[in-house]
């Protein structure tokens, strides 16, 4: 893995008062993304606008595609043309992207996709917040596969995690998702963009050996198999069909086992390296409030109130939502009375918590149908009930 300092051309260093959507665009440019293909949709459009505005001065290319299906197709082409690529969308657009996200997973094409979530299903609540696509991002495309999804809780983290998303997508050759929401997307806060020399960027691993030795794939359950750029003279073939290391179709159960195991295990096997969580007072906690994205900032108020009442509450914030921190929950569930999980959906990631807790502690879902954030007092009530 070749780690270099960011290209200063893409780095607008200094402090800014910026919303999360714009911070995603700045993070992408800082990470070296030079190709954006997308289709506007509320509440994500500001990212596209910012990227489009900055593209000429940075030397990047922005294309507004005819729809979201084409957007991912263009990203796959852009990535195999040698660029770091991204797009941004929200619920309905994300649904359209899923078919080609599967193609990107199968062809192990690095890309970053931000989903600024809004209330659904269907067109639902275009301007209002939600966290309802958390399962869709993991399982929405057909077939078995694995991806990485990060969930920022502030504009600053939108910037930081977008850079991390690009780096992870290069290391594991996998689509990486920024699962944010309308609230964080449109919330303005101070965002500090560090100087280019302080931003670490993972470069594309390009094959440099003799032409006859190039293989676009290596099924070793690790990431990082070298790629090539279309036009550099290396022969390659990419397809959505089950393929061999040269990329040619081999449609047998045996080969599918090889490919699928690789696609899943390159993430699962490296989960410890990928997963990031933020812990607060887990030691000795009776109840743990688990959350991600904007909900973690709402939950804080409930946690503070509960502590004032003398309840021993810890909190666990998922920065990486997928892969899921299974071991952490297994350990935690044998030490605490209950895990309380507020989410702005009808109970999605809480299913993972229940699976990993496997009955060792109570798991309480504090769901919300979207369009707003939780009332912290509702979370507080759930904490109080859980510790009884």
């Amino acid at each position: 893995m070749n780690i270099v300092a960011a290209d200063p051309k893409g780095v607008d260093a200094g402090p800014h008062f910026m919303d999360g959507d714009h911070a995603i665009a700045e993070g992408a440019l800082a990470a070296g993304c030079r190709f954006f293909a997308g289709y506007p949709i509320t509440p994500s459009t500001e990212t596209a606008e910012r990227f489009a505005e900055r593209a000429p001065e940075v030397g990047a290319l922005f294309i507004q595609m005819e729809d979201e299906i084409a957007s991912i197709a263009a990203l796959i082409g852009g990535a195999w043309g040698g660029q770091k690529v991204m797009t941004v969308t929200s619920g309905p657009g994300f649904s359209l992207m899923l078919e080609n996200i599967g193609l990107a997973v199968m062809t192990e094409t690095p890309m970053v996709i931000a989903n600024v979530q809004r209330g659904g299903p269907s067109t639902g609540l275009p301007t209002l917040t939600a966290q309802q696509d958390m399962m869709q991002v993991r399982f929405g495309s057909h077939g078995d596969y694995n991806i990485i999804a990060l969930s920022p809780d502030s504009p600053q983290e939108c910037f930081d995690l977008t850079i991390e998303a690009f780096n992870l997508s290069e290391i594991y050759r996998v689509p990486v998702f920024i699962m944010t929401d309308e609230t964080v997307g449109h919330m303005h806060e101070k965002v500090v963009v560090p100087p280019a020399s302080e931003i670490k960027v993972v470069e594309r691993n390009l094959f440099k050996g003799p032409k006859e030795d190039f293989r676009p794939y290596g099924f070793d359950s690790q990431g990082g198999h070298p790629m090539t750029r279309a036009g550099d003279g290396y022969r390659f073939h990419i397809t959505g069909l089950t393929h061999n290391e040269r990329g040619y179709p081999v449609m047998t159960p045996e080969q599918n086992k090889i490919v699928l195991t690789h696609l899943i295990e390159k993430i699962n096997g490296n989960a410890d390296k990928i997963i990031r969580v933020e812990e607060d007072e887990l030691e000795g906690a009776e109840v743990v409030v688990m959350s991600y994205g904007i909900t973690s900032r709402i939950a804080v108020r409930a946690v503070q109130e509960a502590r004032k009442k003398g309840i021993k509450v810890g909190s666990l914030r998922l920065i990486t939502v997928w892969p899921f921190c299974e071991q952490k929950i297994r350990d935690l569930s044998s030490k605490v009375k209950a895990i309380v999980m507020p989410e702005i959906n009808y109970g999605q990631i809480v299913r993972e918590v229940e699976r990993c807790a496997a009955g060792r502690c109570k798991v309480v879902s504090v769901n919300h149908c979207g369009g707003a954030v939780h009332d912290p007092m509702v979370i507080l009530k759930a904490i109080e009930e859980a510790c009884q």
């Binding site: 402090p15 008062f17 609230t183 804080v300």
Partner: protein
């Protein structure tokens, strides 16, 4: 930790959201505070009632919404009537005196009236109303420094209108200072 919650309100097109952006940037970038700004985003931001909220603190703002605002700027009757009730005790209410008719004396609030729209028209265009109001807000609340505001304004107004916007800000600010030193809040 001291936290101040502010709501700017009016109708879409008055530059309400810009008021919060300028104040937020002034606080977060130039006054060494933490500031989190949230705003109306739906159809309401484009014509009818419109509001933007700012939470200001000495430490990182965790909960991003306002629950008990201590400052309300209301540049329309609708915004005033909708929001004044949630102001905390001794909260500061700033209204455009030509656009808002108060429903009584509000003895538990500190009420300031500013002819922001009229001043802006005097400067040539009512588009500058928000900057006049913002200057007045800066003077009477003391939440943010005028220096910080003047550093923040250039990033949020078209450069060809910068001078006149600064002038509008100063007009409101001077009027606020005058009101402060003359009679107290009405």
């Amino acid at each position: 930790m001291s936290t101040t919650e502010i709501r700017f309100s009016g109708f879409g097109g008055q530059g309400i959201i810009r008021c919060a952006l300028i104040t937020g940037e002034a606080l977060a970038l130039h006054d060494d505070k933490f500031a989190t700004m949230t705003q109306s985003f739906g159809p309401e931001a484009r014509g009818s009632a419109c509001a933007a909220q700012l939470v200001v603190s000495d430490d990182r703002v965790l909960y991003p919404y306002i629950t008990s605002p201590s400052v309300l700027m209301a540049l329309s009757q609708e915004a005033y009537e909708k929001y004044y009730v949630e102001l905390c005790d001794k909260g500061i209410l700033i209204v455009d005196e030509d656009l808002v008719k108060l429903r009584g004396e509000h003895p538990n609030l500190v009420v300031w009236r500013v002819p922001a729209t009229r001043f802006a028209e005097g400067l040539g265009n009512r588009l500058f109303t928000n900057l006049v109001a913002l200057g007045f807000f800066t003077a009477v609340t003391g939440v943010v420094t005028a220096d910080a505001m003047k550093k923040a304004i250039p990033g949020w107004v078209p450069s060809r209108f910068l001078k006149i916007n600064i002038k509008a800000f100063e007009k409101g600010y001077d009027h606020g200072v005058q009101c402060m030193s003359g009679k107290s809040a009405s």
